[in-house]
Symmetry: C2
Subunit: 528 residues, 2 copies
């Protein structure tokens, strides 16, 4: 049941006076629940509880953390129709999408549960002593990853489940052993409260310390800023706009003790169409990309916003077929009137450029908050002159950049900022002729895709969902996949430490049977 | 031969007008060589060369990088007496220390050479495709670590070789595939030029691109600030003061594209003497710590600046023996008159506190720039009241904090800032009674030491030379040991990528025979 209250640890609270409501973009009306914004006292209480909870939670075994994470998944399943209905009413997204995203959320929780149950993720490394080494003996030195402390998570507007309350950031931070305080997203606060209730139920059932999780409502920036500036908070996870992410990064880096901010922000996800691919497969790629551009109203961080090619008759055909295919796809509702307005504003900022041609835009009246599918074109020379055209237009929009030649295309790629993804579409092994161009692309992205679409981010060990700034604030880490847990840990090492006081991961007998590096070799062996 | 010039890539240059000299603190006179500070044109030229060199160097094989690194070591050996003499004349340190530090420098270069020759350090990870997965097929996804771009290194005053021009930061960055621009330390610019010449010789002999290394002289902050603010620079390594490191961090975080700054800064390296250890072994520990406190004029980042114990007759005996032992050790020359002055100033700031007792300080006239060994004491209550007493006094100084009881001792540790190290001295397994105290210590340090001294940092896989702020700006990374290479890389992933265009590390046939994670399992197998 949605109460509109905050979770301060295990207790619901609504001592504040500021209230707000979420919005149903499909019906174009406010939803009914009144949400209470977290008061300063409530925020401080949540931080105190998280700080105390950390003392216990950092020592909680991988097995116990995995039981907690599995139980969160179970509790989310129990929310059943109420969760799906609330999700849809707060996002304008379809029931099918809600169900698929819930599946992804459960999969992420279960993935981290398995990871910490196995335990090898802590990168245990042991260099045994060499007492007879000259000129000085070598001490026994062992290290492992250890959680850094309470984390603040800001969820994404476009993933009310998978990248919000119990999404990737929360799941990975809890798996690491860090208490989490979620600053709930103002667009899906009801969805957030339901998921928070599942986490709290799971925490209580599995004996986790009170304060291991809190969920704070907020319609503005104050709650988030208070959290990020607080000395007890040790890292921040954020998914959203460049402005929002950068503001948090700036706050965090001005602290007396700076803390890491993992902000996943804007990306235009360049796609390069090579000549043979255009010539041989323009119909296929036009059809495939019409889906990738418009799916979910284009509201994905990996949406292909810029498509580059070299001018040719075939490239013109590609554009024509792309338009025909996009025409066939009905526009859909965007997440919120504000997102809809921002889409129109950012799109029009691009379209007003005299060198940009609007090749297609849905005509006539469409329902409120439905984003008109839009395909624009520009030539490479004009694109190079205006860096504003590199900026993300969040929504169902893509622009084809038609270059004179390979040199101009390389220049265009060289001038792009950091991106989450870069894609090349090739045919007949032509990619072998473009190694320089591909290398330029590689330097700017976190993930390279061959003959595919950037949308759809696999949750797996080898995934990199990240990229050079401004795609993220820290290109060294991924926000998706098992390794995203590395954001919430630091290494600590033990020199000459008594075996019985070592963490289990580092004990001689390897009681957890984890994979460790012993004197440079991976092994599950015990140490004599 | 020392010329006083900069290395802009492979060429010596001295187009600037600003000059300076280094200082011999032992003789208390300036050294003769006139050094030319790098001009703006020279800095820009070095950055341009590094940017171009990166295009080639990032693609250089591990084998070729290892040949380069081994050759740097060979070239440093060839510098022979000139290097040792210059080192001593610019640091006041002994010839024995110079030779030992050169050995360490060579060992570090060779360690990274072996690491990249082996090649497994790139954390290659492969998730093979599952074309028949429902509801959607799974793509083949592979990732590895890739260098981030040109790096700036600021060397340490106290390690003219091992943490300067060809020290740990430079060696690890070159191993990663990042060109390096060193902002040479103004106190040992001659030593820096000699080592730079070795790197340049090695680069030329082994066919590395011009610009893979540059060495810029500078007596003030301007050269360093220019470098850190430049868009082509992608990360910074720094070892030095909190003020210096924080200033660079602030510059880097205000950039349009923020970049990581790995600054290793202040640390007081708390040592906790448990009651039985005091009772049973006070003589041993007093003697051991008299050496650790005064060795190298106490000019180590891991110098034990604070020693905590619970008041007792034995603790008083410990203090008395410590004083007797320190008395026996002759003071030595500090690195530079400025370091000597800073030591006296910072020490006197502590000693002027009315609750601090000076238990020992060398009396009478000592040679210029020789730091007087100083042991102070304070009670726990007074220590808790004055956070200024937590600050590092860089030099041969240590303060013993005498606590009333365990509770006060725990409070003292709880109030400490982040540290590189924390040490416990225990006897008869008494450590088992202090798990809470030890856990409080662990949360604040990068390395825990049992019954030893914090000075002496082993170069090995499991070393963590880092720690929570203000010990470093980024506790997630180590500055010493093989894993310090992780500071200069990010992950990039390849989705559905053609085998022949994959980096060798990710190719099906595993041509480099490296250890990889394939579908979750470590293996050197090829993929069918």
């Amino acid at each position: 049941m949605i109460t509109g209250k905050n979770y301060i640890g295990n207790l619901r609270a609504s001592s504040g006076t500021k209230t707000f409501k979420t919005f149903n973009p499909l019906k174009n009306v406010e939803n009914k629940t009144v949400f209470f914004e977290a008061s300063t006292i409530e925020i401080e209480h949540a931080i105190d509880l998280a700080t105390k909870a950390f003392e216990q939670f950092q020592l909680t075994s991988g097995i116990d953390k995995s039981i907690f994470l599995f139980e969160i998944a179970n509790e989310i399943i129990k929310l059943d129709e109420e969760l799906i209905d609330t999700y849809c009413s707060e996002s304008g997204l379809s029931k099918e999408r809600a169900i698929a995203e819930r599946e992804r959320t459960l999969f992420q929780l279960q993935t981290f549960a398995k990871l910490v149950k196995d335990g090898s993720w802590v990168e245990a490394s042991i260099d045994t002593a060499k007492p007879s080494r000259v000129p000085i003996p070598k001490s026994d030195i062992r290290k492992l990853l250890t959680p850094i402390g309470p984390i603040v998570v800001f969820g994404a507007s476009n993933f009310p489940l998978a990248y919000s309350t119990a999404g990737g950031d929360t799941a990975s931070a809890l798996a690491a052993g860090c208490p989490v305080i979620v600053k709930s997203h103002p667009m899906h606060t009801g969805t957030g409260e339901l998921v928070a209730s599942a986490i709290i139920n799971a925490a209580e059932k599995t004996g986790m310390p009170n304060g291991v999780f809190s969920n704070l409502n907020s319609s503005g920036n104050e709650v988030g800023e208070f959290l990020v500036k607080h000395t007890a908070i040790k890292a921040v996870g954020f998914t959203g706009s460049l402005n929002g992410g950068r503001a948090l990064y700036n706050l965090a880096s001005k602290r007396n003790e700076p803390i890491p901010v993992f902000a996943e922000m804007g990306s235009v996800n360049p796609v390069i169409l090579f000549p043979n691919a255009v010539e041989n497969n323009y119909k296929h790629w036009a059809k495939t990309y019409s889906q990738s551009i418009t799916n979910g109203a284009g509201q994905f961080c990996t949406n292909p916003g810029l498509i580059f090619g070299i001018k040719s008759e075939s490239l013109s055909k590609f554009i024509n077929v792309l338009i025909e295919e996009v025409k066939k796809i009905a526009p859909t509702c965007m997440l919120h009137p504000k997102i809809f307005e921002a889409f129109n504003k950012n799109k029009n900022n691009v379209l007003k450029n005299k060198n940009v041609a609007v090749s297609f835009e849905n005509k006539g009246i469409i329902s409120d908050n439905f984003g008109k599918h839009t395909i624009a074109t520009i030539n490479g020379k004009a694109f190079l002159k205006n860096p504003n055209l590199h900026q993300e237009v969040f929504g169902p929009f893509s622009m084809i950049v038609q270059c004179e030649d390979l040199h101009e295309l390389e220049n265009c790629i060289s001038n792009l900022e950091g991106q989450l993804t870069g894609t090349i579409l090739a045919s007949n092994n032509e990619q072998e002729n473009y190694t320089n161009l591909i290398n330029l692309l590689k330097q700017r992205v976190g993930r390279l895709i061959f003959n595919g679409v950037p949308t759809g981010v696999e949750v797996c060990d080898s995934m990199v969902h990240g990229g050079p700034y401004p795609a993220t604030t820290d290109s060294r880490f991924t926000a998706v996949g098992a390794h995203s847990i590395k954001r919430w840990v630091r290494s600590v090492c033990y020199q000459n430490w008594p075996n019985n006081l070592l963490p289990n991961e580092l004990k001689n007998e390897n009681p957890l049977n984890i994979l460790r590096i012993i004197d440079g070799e991976y092994s599950k062996k015990s140490i004599q």
